[in-house]
């Protein structure tokens, strides 16, 4: 899994931004979404959830569900591939 070819990521004080440079669309990320993007290059969905559980308090399987939904959203918007 990786960011799509024309997508750039930058961390900001509030979290981060994704910039799809072909459509010139910008997406603002909150801190947990930023943490997911940071981990995208490092592994699959399960690995990302596992790494986030080390850093954020989890209630049940909330992190897994949220990561899964968020990655699906990113895919649907064409921001990630693989």
């Amino acid at each position: 899994m990786k960011l799509a070819q024309y997508v750039k990521f930058r961390e900001e004080k509030f979290g981060g931004v994704l910039f799809e440079t072909r459509s010139e669309k910008v997406f603002t990320l909150n801190p947990t979404a930023t943490a997911v993007i940071r981990e995208i290059a490092n592994g699959d969905e399960a690995t990302i959830s596992s790494r986030l559980k080390d850093r954020f308090v989890d209630q049940g399987d909330a992190i897994e569900r949220e990561v899964s939904a968020f990655l699906a959203e990113l895919r649907q918007r064409g921001l990630i591939e693989g």
Partner: protein, 318 residues
């Protein structure tokens, strides 16, 4: 966990997009050129090599994700390919805005090899006569060859079209031509009354009624090419656009060939100078400058006198 569309420049540590007019020199003398570029029109004080790369490195150090090099004709800049190489190797997405006259096979292949995101080419007619009327000194066939060289090299192509009363009738044909040439996008808007266009306005001016028909034709083309080529256009007038920008400034710096930084192309205000100021200083000033009453005042004046855009080259330092 959210990804929300849009970002306010107030919240960002640096710009997201820098549009850099790297030289005012141009081989053409286009009837409508906003920058009044042309042969022999390079600014006397354009940045030298060291200054150019100092600016570029600041942008890259600050992780500005998206740059464009335009002009004038950017490929006439003496360090054009070195700049492209630096920007691409350090991970920026780079767009080149060119008249395509220097896109021979070698240069097109080099742009591909260096990894530019896209090359944007201006094509203001589907015939030699119409194209040549807008692009004074331009060679229509050479442009088509240049675009074909990009396509053959595998460089993503964007086609731009500037409307004038004498080329409106060819817009459908230009959209079709853009697709045949392998473009992935076609863009147009309204031609602005500034720069060279002020003197040529009687040849260029498009009436409101003509614009209505023009954008209707483009809507049909958008549908025709949906899923094959992105056809998009900016229908809003300048005043509407500027009023929106005052409330929501884009995280975009316009850098002039001498390092001065404009607030936005359609206003005369200068908010920084890369020869003296750091990117951080310019970015801070850019954000506060949008709140300067002179900016809102200029936009209000435009509502009364739309012709004030003729003064955009009389820079006002904020």
């Amino acid at each position: 966990m959210t990804a929300s569309a849009g970002a306010e420049s107030e919240d960002l540590a640096a710009p997201l997009y820098v549009a850099w007019q790297i030289t005012n020199e141009c081989n053409l003398a286009c009837l409508h050129c906003i920058e009044e570029s042309g042969p022999g029109k390079a600014f006397a004080d354009e940045l030298d090599r060291d200054q150019t790369f100092a600016v570029l490195d600041q942008l890259l150090d600050s992780e500005v994700p998206y740059l464009s090099f335009s002009g004038g004709e950017p490929m006439l800049h003496p360090h054009f390919f070195a700049m492209v190489e630096r920007a691409c190797e350090r991970g920026a997405q780079l767009k080149i805005e060119t008249n395509a006259h220097y896109l021979d096979r070698t240069n097109a292949a080099r742009l591909k090899e260096l990894g530019v995101k896209a090359v944007q080419v201006s094509l203001d007619g589907a015939s030699i006569a119409t194209f040549g009327r807008m692009r004074v000194r331009g060679e229509f066939d050479r442009v088509l060859d240049g675009v074909r060289n990009l396509r053959d090299a595998g460089v993503p192509i964007e086609i731009n079209f500037s409307p004038a009363r004498f080329n409106l009738h060819e817009v459908d044909a230009v959209v079709d031509l853009a697709y045949e040439l392998g473009a992935y996008s076609f863009y147009t808007g309204r031609t602005m009354y500034t720069g060279n266009a002020v003197k040529a306005w009687r040849h260029l001016e498009v009436s409101d009624e003509q614009y209505v028909a023009y954008f209707d034709a483009l809507r049909a083309k958008t549908e025709q090419y949906r899923g094959k080529m992105r056809v998009y256009f900016h229908e809003a007038g300048l005043l509407e656009e500027l009023r929106y920008r005052i409330q929501h400034p884009a995280a975009l710096l316009i850098v002039l060939p001498n390092g001065l930084v404009k607030l936005i192309n359609a206003l005369p205000f200068i908010c920084g100078d890369f020869r003296k100021d750091s990117l951080a200083e310019i970015w801070a000033r850019f954000r506060s400058a949008w709140h300067d009453p002179r900016v809102a005042g200029f936009v209000d004046d435009l509502a009364v006198d739309p012709g004030r855009t003729r003064t955009l080259h009389q820079w006002v330092y904020l």
